[in-house]
Every structure is written in C-alpha cells, then in structure tokens.
C-alpha cells in the first residue's frame, strides 16, 4: 500500500509541476473549427465550447486544483490546531468558552459553512480557499482539543505549570509534540476531502472563475453534455477521485507506520540453558502445584528477553507462600505462566509442571483450561481493571460457577450472596446489581476475593492484591485471604514487593531476583535468618515504624540485571558485596541448608548472631 500511495502522489506531483509547462499552451489555444467535439484521435477527451483540448486542460490544471486544496487544509489545520491546543493551557473559564465556541462551529455542516463563506468572500479561487479553511478548522479544533485534554491532565503538564512556564512554551514544548502524530494523519486525509470540496465549490460556480479553471470547473462544464458525451465529465471526476484516494492512502500509510513503532519481534530460539536444577523434590501426594525449571521468554523490540529463568516451586494444600521481589524480578510473569495467562508472544517452558496431580504438559488445551478454571483463581493488583466495567457484580460473580458447574442462576446468586457476606460485604441485591465503578477500591478487591472463592479453588494466586490500597484496607484484605485459606484449605501464592507484608502473612517465603528464586525460607526466619545477600539487603531496607530516623538506611547500589542478558553467572553478581570468581562463571543453584531453608548462593552469609535471641523491634533497623 505504501508503494502505491507514494507512486500515486509522485505522479500527481510530477503532473502538477510539468503539467502547466507541457500542456498549458495547448490548453489555452482555442480552435473554432473544433468546438464541442467528442473524443477523437487528436483530442482523446474531446474539446470544450471554445475548441480547447480537454485532456490538455485536465493535465494542465493539476497544479491549480491541488494547490488550493493543500493550502486550504493547511490554513484550516493551523487555525483549528491553535484554537484546540489553546484549551489545554488557558484557565477554566476561558477553556469552557473556547470549548463552547468549537462546539458551536461544529454544529454547522462543513460544506454549508464553506459555501456560505465562499459567497461572503466573493466567488473565486482565493475566496474558495479561505472559505474551505474556515470550514475545516472546527474539525481540527475538536480533534486537537480532545487530544490536548489528555496531555493537559498529565503530571508533567502540572509540573510545567508549577514551574510557571508561559503558555506559548507549554503549547510548543509539551502539548503540540504529543498531539502532532494523529493531527498529521488527519491533515493528510483532510487534503483529500478538501480537494473534493473545492471541486464541489468550483462545480457550483463558487470556486475557480473562467478564464482560470480547475478540475471542478471542468467537471461542471462537462456535465452540461454528459448525456451526449460522458467522457468530458467523467475524466475530471476520475482525476478528483484519483487525487483524493492518493491522499487518503498516504494517511493510511502514515497511521500504520505510527502504530508499527513497536514491531512484533522475531522469535529467536531459547538461548543455551544454564545448568538446570534437577528435580530435587519427590512428587508428594500432598503437593498441589509443582513446577520445575520454569522459564519464560518474551519478545521485546528486536530481541528476546527472559524475565523468568528457571523457577522451581511447590505448593502444598492450604499453604500460604509469599513470592517477593522487586519490579522486574519476574514474579508476576511466573504467576501468569502458572495460570496460563501469559501475554501474546511469550513462551513458557518447564521440565516438570504438575497441577492437581496432572501433568499440565500432557493435557490438551481444553482440559488445561478447564482444570485451571476450576482449580485456580487469580486476584490482580488493580481491582479497577480486573472486572468488566459494563457487567453487574452479580453476573461476574456467578458466570464461572454457572459455566463450569452448571449451577442454575438462583442457586449461583445465593452462593454469591454467601461469599459476599464472608468478605464483610452485605450481600444485598443493591450490591449485586451494582457495577464495579460504583464500588471503592477496597470493596472491589473484596469482591474479587469473593469471586475467586466462588469456585472453591485449590489455589489462589494473589498478585500484589493490596498494593493499590491503603494500609487499613490492606489489613482487611489480608485478614480475608487468611480466612479463605483457613476455611477452604486453599493454597495461596501471595506475590508482593512488600517483604514486611509477606513476612506477616505467609508461612513460607520465596525471594525472587533476576528471574530466579534466590532463597526459600520460613517467613518467621526472614527477619533474622536470611542467608542470601540479596534477601539480607531487602530486609535491611525495610524501615520499621520504630526505626531510628538518624540511622541512614542502607541502599542497594547498582541496577537489577538486564532480562535480556546472557551472562552465565549469578544474577545478583553486580550488586553483591562479597562475590567470588565462581559467581561470574556459574549460576548458583538452589540448595538446602536445612529441610526448610534453601538458598541459591555460592557463599551464603553466616547466620546472624541475633537469630538466636528473642525478637526485638530494633532488629528491623
């Protein structure tokens, strides 16, 4: 399409430039002997009432047809964009006035406005251009207003306003660059419409006036005898359509190019696997979920990143396990891989993956989905986007049980009511009939928990379920999760970056870094018994409420590892205070220190002296 559009535009440009030179004299040469002729060998399109060659006139008027269209669009766009962008930088009252003004302008059909102003400005090419500019300005103004409103609400605009930047600067530096792209596309498309509209004006006698001429006028003149000689009317029509299509195509091409700024990456093969930890855990009967050497590869730009690099974990029935790590450590992707919810293009591989006693790899897609739907539930970080805003709470709570267990509606609603009461929400009709946006964040998250326990799942994966919530609400949610686990013997995989929260709520904690699990330890050992340097740093960076303000908090220097990197060593290498030569060459495997404690480090830190003494608050400083 790009080639076609460019070829069409190039042909138009060439014609516009060379047309008047090559065919201009022929187009203006009257021939009284050949007036109003039909198509002949000498005049392929015939002649007009003065005997001038119509093909020559058509080709020669490319310039005079295209230039006004482009000029009118540019003028209109400039006026409209200025008007629309102003709304983003002026004060409240002026903004409302401007908005009302733009709405008022939009209320009139563009072509009517153009005709009105063409009459007002006086018939002629110049008047038509101005009239058309006035007519297309409101459309641009509205588009710009809408786009600029999005920019005006951003924090960086607020920051610029706090800096006291002047309006023209706000406009030039912050607003216009962000709205330029769609406006450019719109302008291109508008040139096509302007061409048609201008031809229309000329056709009506409001545009180009004889002796000057353009395609619209030629069309108008040809139309007088369209029943006897169709070609003199059809040919200018074809020219108009051709140019219009060329500009529209260009718009399409530009739009495609704009959306293609992040092209889907080519798939590359899985890089050489680092030494995979062998299946150390025997498949126990009480294991609900077991996964070994889980890896996720994700295309990003023109390379493949590997955010999860060999995670092995096992969950027992009724166990609450925390998965902590910083953003980018791969914890959320691990969860998504377990729930078979990875984004498009991502690939998960594993050496073993058993859920509810079945080997997930050997199940068909359908069986796997059914098993996940009935056995696993997920609670997401943002309760606002986890629900469909258009559906009532009742529908969203009951659809899963109705679909998978075939429970009739009344019974499902009754179940939903019970579940809502359990999460301390009055299971009233009013709540069931409400839509997600009518609830507060805390309420929505509680509904999410109710929805998750509707199916009585064996496993709930909660991905940062309290991050968007206040501490008091967080507390309620945590209490609820604990209750779900106690009542239903549901295992919970609790993902969070908040190590204090995880220590508080879970039985066991898995610490994730750079796509691998670096330590697995009982939650109560976290405060004092961590052996991996990263866990130790994470613990040290938590500032308790009672921390001494004057003690300077230990920071973690450096940056997390590049998820696209292929270095063979320990992911924590760059930030580790006590690395060995071996750490750079070989990735440490998770190995047991005692039955409940595993660490992936070639040189685990010695147990702290404080681990033996009774816990005191001072420990978290």
């Amino acid at each position: 399409m790009g080639v076609t559009a460019l070829a069409m535009l190039a042909s138009l440009a060439v014609l516009a430039v060379v047309g008047p030179v090559l065919w201009g004299p022929a187009a203006d040469r009257p021939d009284p002997s050949a007036v109003l002729q039909g198509p002949t060998g000498g005049h392929p399109l015939g002649t007009d009432h003065l005997g001038r060659d119509l093909l020559a006139r058509l080709l020669a008027s490319t310039w005079s047809s295209l230039l006004p269209a482009v000029t009118a669009t540019l003028l209109g766009a400039a006026a409209g964009v200025t008007l629309g962008a102003l709304t983003a930088v002026v004060g409240g009252r002026t903004r409302r006035l401007l908005g009302a003004f733009i709405n008022l302008l939009l209320a009139f059909p563009a072509l009517l406005v153009a005709m009105f102003f063409a009459v007002l400005f006086g018939a002629g090419a110049r008047g038509a251009v101005f009239a058309l500019a006035v007519a297309c300005a409101p459309g641009f103004a509205r588009l710009t207003q809408t786009l600029a409103a999005g920019v005006a609400g951003t924090d960086f605009m607020a920051a610029a306003r706090v800096l006291g930047l002047r309006r023209h600067r706000l406009l030039r530096r912050h607003v216009l660059p962000h709205v330029a792209e769609p406006l450019l596309l719109n302008t291109t498309v508008a040139v096509g419409s302007a061409l048609v509209a201008l031809s229309g004006l000329s056709f009506l006698g409001l545009g180009a006036q004889p002796p000057s001429y353009d395609w619209g006028l030629l069309l108008s003149q040809g139309l007088d005898r369209v029943y006897t000689e169709p070609l003199p009317a059809v040919a200018p029509g074809i020219a108009i359509v051709y140019a219009g299509v060329a500009f529209q195509l260009l718009g399409e091409v530009l739009a495609k190019a704009a959306t293609r700024q992040h092209p889907p990456a080519r798939q590359t093969g899985e890089p050489a696997a680092s030494p995979a930890p062998t299946g150390r855990r025997p498949a126990g009967a009480d294991l609900l979920l077991e996964v070994a050497d889980l890896r996720v590869a994700l295309p990003a730009g023109d390379r493949t990143i590997r955010p999860v690099r060999g995670v092995s974990l096992a969950l027992r029935r009724g166990e609450m396990v925390g998965l902590v790590g910083e953003s980018g450590s791969g914890k959320s992707l691990t969860a998504l891989a377990l729930a078979d919810l990875l984004p498009d293009g991502a690939r998960a591989t594993w050496s073993a993956h058993r859920f509810l006693g079945a080997d997930v790899g050997s199940l068909t897609r359908r069986e796997r989905h059914r098993q996940l739907a009935t056995g696993m539930a997920m609670i997401f970080q943002n309760p606002a986007s986890a629900f469909n805003p258009a559906l009532r709470i009742e529908t969203q709570l009951t659809e899963a049980v109705r679909a998978h267990h075939g429970i009739p509606r009344e019974q499902a609603v009754e179940q939903a009511r019970v579940q809502l009461q359990r999460v301390a929400l009055p299971g009233e009709r009013r709540l069931l009939r409400s839509r997600p946006f009518q609830l507060s964040g805390g309420q929505r998250q509680r509904v999410a928990i109710a929805a998750a326990s509707m199916m009585r799942p064996d496993l709930v994966i909660a991905d940062e379920p309290t991050t968007a919530l206040d501490v008091t609400v967080q507390r309620q949610i945590m209490d609820l999760l604990r209750r779900v686990r106690r009542d239903d013997a549901t295992a919970i995989l609790f993902i969070s970056h908040d190590i204090a929260l995880v220590a508080d709520a879970c039985d066991r904690v898995l610490v994730m870094y750079g796509g691998t699990i670096v330590e697995s330890l009982p939650a109560r050992a976290l405060a004092d018994g961590a052996r991996h340097p990263y866990t130790r740093m994470l613990v040290a960076s938590v500032r308790g409420l009672t921390a001494d303000r004057e003690s300077s908090p230990p920071g973690l220097g450096g940056a997390p590892p590049d998820p696209g990197g292929t270095a063979p060593g320990c992911p924590f290498l760059d930030r580790c205070p006590q690395r060995l030569d071996r750490c750079a060459a070989e990735i440490p495997v998770l190995s047991a220190l005692d039955p409940h404690h595993e660490v992936a480090c070639w040189r685990p830190l010695p147990p702290t002296a404080s681990s033996g003494r009774p816990e005191t608050e001072e420990c978290d400083t």
């Binding site: 004060g91 924090d155 006291g164 660059p177 501490v471 008091t472 908040d498 908090p553 608050e617």
Partner: protein, 350 residues
C-alpha cells in the same frame, strides 16, 4: 530569611557555596485552607479548614487514606487548585494565585514532586531538556550556564552526567524520580511538596531516595511537606506528622511521640495496620478494627467525622454520643477527638 538572590534571579545557591541557609525560617504556613471540587452531585469539600506550619529546614509528614484530601492539599499549596477559603503563605508572604503571572511568581517559591515518575516527566524530552527548562523558568541563562546548571542538578540528586541525554523511558523508576526531584529543586524553592514520591518505587530504591531528600533538605534548607500513606517512610523523613481524615487534620504529633504516643483512635488504627517483619508483633500495638467503609466526602458525617468507624466511638462505647454531635478539635492538644488516648500511653489503655 534566605531570600539572598543574585542578580538576574539566579539563586545565590547555585553559584557554588551551598551552606545551610535559613535553617529555621518562616517556611510554609497554611491557615484554615479549604478546597472545594465540583463533584457530580454538587460541591465536595476535599480539604476542610486545614492549618499547618512548616519551618524552613523542617519536614512535616502528611498521612491519610486515599480520598482524605492529601493530594488536593498538595495541589492547592503549589497553586494548581485554588482554595476557596484560607491563606497560604511562604516565608511570611502571601501570593494570591489568580492569574497566570501570579502562578509564575508562586512557582519560584514552591515546587511539587509527583507520585508517579513515569508520567511526571515529559516522555519526549531528554533529562537535559527537562532540567534546562526548569532551570531557565525564572532565570535567563545562556547555553553554557544552563548546561552547567543541568550538570549541578544531576550531581545534586546523585545521577551521573551520562543520564542527561537519555529519555525518561530509558531510566529506571528510581532514576526518573531523582530527575523529578532535580527538576523541582532547579528553581531553588523555599517549599517542596513531595506527593507520594516513594510509593511507585521498590523498597531498596525507596530508602535511598528518602535519604537523598533528607540530605538535600539539610543542604538547601527548604521546608518539606511529605505526603504518603506509607507510615514508615513518613516517620523516616519527618520532624512532625499530621494525620488527615476526610479533608481534616485529626492529629499532629512530633515524630518522636509516634508510634506509642498517638492519641487519636484513627492514628492508632493506621499505625496498627502497618505490617511488620516480625510476625505477630506490631509496633503500633494490637490491631484496632476499622468498621464500615470510608464515608463519602460529599456528605461527611456530623460531629466527629470518624465517629461511625471509630473503634472506641459511640457505636462501641455507650456514653460517647457527644462524638456524633459535636465537632472536636483541640488546638492545644493538637488532636481532634473528644476522648483521645492519654499522651505517651500504651494502646491497651482507653
């Protein structure tokens, strides 16, 4: 106090010597500030009669749940929202923020750092452009001076000069937040408002940013309003803590007095909800149940605004009906409660 400024409006500070200036000056003073929004069902009083003073070189932490009006107050202080009543003064001077010109003068005295570093920086401007724009907002700088100032600012927030040419998208969250801080400090403000600056960051980065803010404050002497729902972070940087509930400040306390000395039941509830690394041990004492949902700010409850949810209020304790009728605020006790916990006492009391 520190109004020593060089010619051309360039702060004396940026000319080299960075001593502690005006460490205990007038700073920020809010008196009875009220901000109303136009809600869908009539006006919503987001901030209701807040008075607060922050001296130069000091930090007040402002905590409260979402919807309590913290961010609205921040926007009012920097002039993005106009208060409908009350006075805001910086270093003893009031600036009416009515016209754009007022805002320009105002922006020179007070700056804001936003919560989300992803959106606080223009994604299409390099770090250098963003900082140069801020540095040149109130002072005419030639290219060389501007470049030098950008270098100074980057150094100030502990970023290496190589960051200058990068776009925000090429920086980590912590680095972006540092750039945002540098941009706010580029005009050498008297007051810095930090609105949830750490909540989008990882814990390990968080600690470093807080340390940096305190260090910068020590060097530059601005007054800081540190808004957060993270009580631990607030305690780490603040000299005093103000607790906000439904548009009002319900308690102000010195940092040293917390957590044990919290007197308002709401403050205690907040403190007790903070998770601790040590299971079963909460520094704020045993959990206080918070019943019900946060009320609609458009129609706050009569009397004490916290009374319907109060763990020691009229719904739990008979004889405390006064809470539902009378609005409590004791200027001397600095706590808005009819039955506050005694100062410096354990949570089991009351």
């Amino acid at each position: 106090m520190s109004g020593v400024r060089g010619p051309g409006g360039l702060p004396e500070q940026s000319r080299g010597a960075r001593g502690v200036r005006g460490a205990r000056g007038a700073g920020l003073a809010l008196h009875d500030v009220t901000v109303r929004h136009h809600g869908p069902y009539g006006p919503v009083t987001a901030v209701d009669g807040v008075s607060l003073e922050i001296a130069r070189g000091r930090t007040v932490g402002l905590v409260g749940e979402s919807g309590s009006g913290k961010s609205t107050l921040a926007r009012a202080i920097v002039g993005l929202d106009r208060p409908c009543a009350g006075r805001i003064a910086i270093d003893g001077r009031e600036y009416p923020v009515r016209r754009a010109a007022d805002r320009r003068r105002w922006g020179r005295r007070v700056q804001l750092v936003f919560q989300d570093p992803d959106t606080a920086l223009d994604p299409r401007m390099t770090v250098r452009q963003s900082l140069a724009e801020a540095a040149g907002a109130f002072a005419r700088l030639d290219r060389r001076a501007r470049e030098q100032r950008v270098g100074e600012l980057l150094e100030l927030v502990g970023l290496d000069a190589g960051c200058a040419g990068r776009l925000p998208g090429q920086l980590s969250g912590g680095q972006r937040q540092r750039v945002a801080v540098a941009r706010a400090l580029a005009v050498d403000p008297a007051v810095l408002v930090a609105d949830e600056v750490t909540s989008a960051l990882d814990v390990s980065v968080r600690a470093a940013l807080l340390g940096m803010l305190r260090e910068l404050q020590r060097r530059m002497g601005f007054a800081m309003l540190f808004i957060s729902h993270d009580l631990a972070a607030v305690r780490q940087v603040s000299d005093a803590v103000a607790v906000m509930y439904l548009g009002r400040i319900v308690e102000t306390a010195s940092n040293e007095a917390l957590p044990g000395g919290a007197r308002h039941p709401y403050t205690r509830t907040l403190l007790s909800a903070v998770p601790s690394l040590h299971t079963g041990r909460r520094p704020g004492g045993e959990a206080l149940p918070l019943s019900g949902e946060a009320p609609d700010p458009a129609s706050p409850p009569a009397g004490c605004r916290f009374h319907p949810r109060c763990p020691v209020g009229p719904s739990r304790r008979p004889g405390r009906e006064v809470c539902a009728v009378q609005d409590p605020w004791d200027e001397t006790a600095r706590v808005a409660c009819h039955f506050p916990y005694p100062a410096g006492d354990g949570p089991e009391h009351a």
